[in-house]
């Protein structure tokens, strides 16, 4: 065997070069975890793939459905195995941030493109923990055709609850017993909150106590009880199957003409409905404020234990400010906070998409301040309202008893949490 020739040596060195090259630059790994659906998953994965290739990162893209997401995330965090980027929900963000599971992002992400309102909405106790991936606002979705039948062309932005009841009553007369003007919202915390704010109260105070008294609840339950008696809203046994899912909603089931949702859900609703849908603002209390505010539909946070926080933060920034990133994610997670991003998307949107952006802009003009953050136990209280409201609807407790029950239970839950 002769000694290797120079040519052979150079050839061998050339072959070995890539190996050395890779060794010299270790690839950072990032894990990104979110909840979604096939459309969102595809968009997000494309974004992560492109970004990963361009920035020499290995990004592991993990996604699940909403219910399973929190179980798995809780397990992973408890096991010390949290992903670097985690999608967050407004309420859960407070729980996670207050328990030191999230990284404070103020230094890494100044976010000059966001309005201070949008930045603040991701703050817990003054520090930024979540970057809003898109805003939404409470929206009343309605069947355009049915409303036209009773002479309503569109929902006025200063509609009062009384007018709303009147319109719903007219609709109910069209097909009594089978179709109603409105879904039963006595059990929905988000509508209750808006109503309270519109009256000048709030769901929670800054120090985590209820911002309402039992009498408020009684008026609320009574309002809906009267609508139920007048058969403007479906009876208890029809309404109770709605546990908050789109497919359980009365509009989807073809039972009501209006329902109370979030603005970014209208796309999902339209997909399941043959009739044309549109969105408008919630009704307000006469003489009161709109009761509505812009809130993050969902946010992206970084784990406090992430091994590559700067990289993670840079990726989050890409998602919300980089034109390619914004275009990839689209309107799917809500209306982007940065005005530049909105302008970028507007020309390519379909009608529903444009409606969403216009709606969010409209609400922001009439919006109230962001309410105090939900305290611990808020999730339980949301379930409590549904339970008690259903009790009242089924006639198991009186309006007055139900109201005081809800109020005292709320105090218990808050105290215990």
């Amino acid at each position: 065997m002769t000694a290797p020739t120079r040519r052979q040596f150079i050839a061998a060195a050339a072959l070995a070069m890539p190996w050395f090259h890779v060794q010299a630059q270790p690839v950072t790994r990032l894990r990104c975890f979110w909840w979604g659906n096939p459309d969102r998953d595809k968009r997000t994965r494309t974004l992560l793939n492109t970004y990963g290739k361009d920035n020499n990162l290995k990004i592991s893209a993990e996604s699940l459905g909403w219910g399973e997401y929190w179980t798995k995330l809780g397990t992973q965090v408890a096991g010390g195995n949290a992903p670097d980027l985690l999608q967050m929900d407004y309420r859960y963000m407070f729980e996670y941030a207050r328990r030191d599971a999230l990284l404070a992002l103020d230094q890494l992400l100044p976010l000059p493109e966001f309005s201070s309102h949008d930045r603040d909405s991701g703050k817990v106790d003054g520090k930024l923990y979540g970057v809003s991936l898109g805003s939404n606002a409470k929206a009343m979705v309605y069947d355009v055709g049915v409303l036209q039948k009773v002479g309503v062309k569109s929902i006025a932005s200063e509609l009062t609850w009384d007018e709303f009841s009147r319109i719903a009553g007219e609709i109910s007369k069209l097909n009594p017993g089978k179709y109603w003007g409105s879904s039963d919202s006595s059990r929905l915390e988000q509508v209750f909150e808006q109503w309270l704010i519109s009256r000048g109260k709030s769901l929670y105070t800054v120090d985590g106590k209820p911002g309402f008294v039992a009498d408020d609840v009684a008026i609320w339950f009574d309002m809906w009880d009267k609508l139920r008696q007048a058969e403007v809203i479906p009876p208890a046994h029809v309404a109770a199957t709605n546990t908050g899912r789109i497919e359980e909603n009365e509009i989807t089931r073809g039972l009501a003409a209006t329902s109370f949702i979030n603005s970014n859900q209208v796309v999902a609703f339209q997909a399941l409905n043959r009739n044309k849908l549109a969105i408008g603002m919630y009704p307000r209390v006469k003489g009161g404020s709109s009761g509505q505010y812009i809130k993050p539909a969902m946010m992206m946070s970084v784990s406090a234990k992430s091994k590559a926080p700067e990289e993670a933060a840079r990726l989050v920034n890409y998602m919300v400010t980089n034109p390619d990133g914004v275009r990839l994610l689209g309107l799917e997670r809500g209306v982007p906070c940065s005005a530049a991003a909105r302008a970028l998307l507007l020309p390519e949107l379909d009608e529903l998409g444009k409606q969403q952006i216009e709606f969010v802009v409209m609400v922001s003009k009439a919006a109230v301040q962001l309410p105090p953050p939900p305290p611990r136990g808020a999730g339980e209280i949301e379930n409590l309202l549904r339970r008690v409201a259903d009790s009242v609807a089924f006639g198991k407790v009186s309006v007055k008893d139900g109201a005081s029950q809800f109020h005292s239970e709320t105090i218990n839950i808050l105290r215990r949490a």
Partner: protein, 276 residues
């Protein structure tokens, strides 16, 4: 001559079958319907047979369903083997062997059946994480080879106890050691219960959702039930048509597995007095 009784029995069975299967028929029918009417239309005969949900659903997620079906099958088959081997050995010990502490261990074994899954979930997750087994199939498969499924141990114990001891004693007189008794006598006589174990193992592993949820991170490792959940977003836009299409397809492998193995329950045992 067809007796009235037979006719009646058949009529009852056919009626019962239709009622039993209506939900499945609805699910299959829905997979052919456009999404906008799925929640308002209860009929099981769609107006048109639209295969688009199947085609798009197969590739809708990050990996195609080929990957998910393969993963599910691999895990399920391994679990079947593990359960049949390990649980029968353990059941043999409890049912046929005498040793100190047998009763205590039996009670402990039964005890492991009674704890709800969600509570040992976190400690087990931590354990597997220390072992470095997260994001692999190992947490789902290895415990089965160590007889983790007390259900099957208990099932087999009950079946073994129904087999007369004379067989064992004849074998002992012939000079057989316990292993041979197990391998040459008990197992062959236990085809019905082994087939039952195989069917249930396959079915439950196939439908198992919580284990894969927690232990598998990378989508290329997902099993079918886990993948199916990705179609439904409670607050956003779900892909119902595709969900129903893929759910219908997901039932097929387990149905076929069942069809094949159930014959073993019936063909059963070739032994005088027990032959059919």
């Amino acid at each position: 001559m067809i007796r009235a009784k037979t006719l009646l029995t058949h009529a009852a069975l056919i009626g019962a079958t239709f009622v039993m299967l209506y939900p499945l028929l609805w699910m299959a029918a829905s997979s052919f319907k456009p999404e906008s009417i799925i929640f308002t239309d209860l009929s099981i005969w769609p107006k048109r047979f639209d295969l688009s949900n199947y085609l798009s659903g197969w590739h809708a997620l990050q990996e195609s369903f080929t990957v998910f079906f393969l993963n599910s099958t691999l895990i399920a088959v391994l679990v079947v083997i593990g359960n049949c081997l390990a649980c029968s050995i353990t059941a043999f010990a409890f049912a046929r062997l005498q040793f100190r502490g047998r009763r205590v261990w039996f009670i402990v074994m039964l005890g492991t059946l009674m704890l709800p899954y969600h509570v040992t979930l976190i400690p087990q997750y931590v354990l597997f994480q220390q072992l470095g087994w997260i994001d692999t199939f190992l947490p789902l498969v290895v415990p089965k080879f160590l007889a983790a499924d007390a259900f099957f141990i208990f099932l087999m114990v009950q079946f073994f106890r129904a087999i007369p001891r004379e067989l064992d004693e004849a074998a002992v007189l012939d000079g057989c050691n316990p292993w041979r008794i197990y391998w040459k006598i008990m197992l062959p006589l236990s085809l019905p219960v082994l087939a039952t174990t195989a069917i249930f193992s396959f079915l439950w592993t196939w439908n198992d959702f919580l284990g894969p949820l927690v232990y598998l991170n990378d989508a290329s490792l997902y099993t079918v039930p886990l993948a199916l959940r990705a179609f439904v977003d409670a607050a956003g836009q779900s892909a119902w048509g595709q969900l129903f299409a893929m759910s219908t397809l997901a039932v097929l492998p387990i149905f076929l597995f069942f069809l094949f193995f159930q014959r073993l329950i019936i063909e059963g045992v070739a032994f005088s007095g027990m032959k059919r």
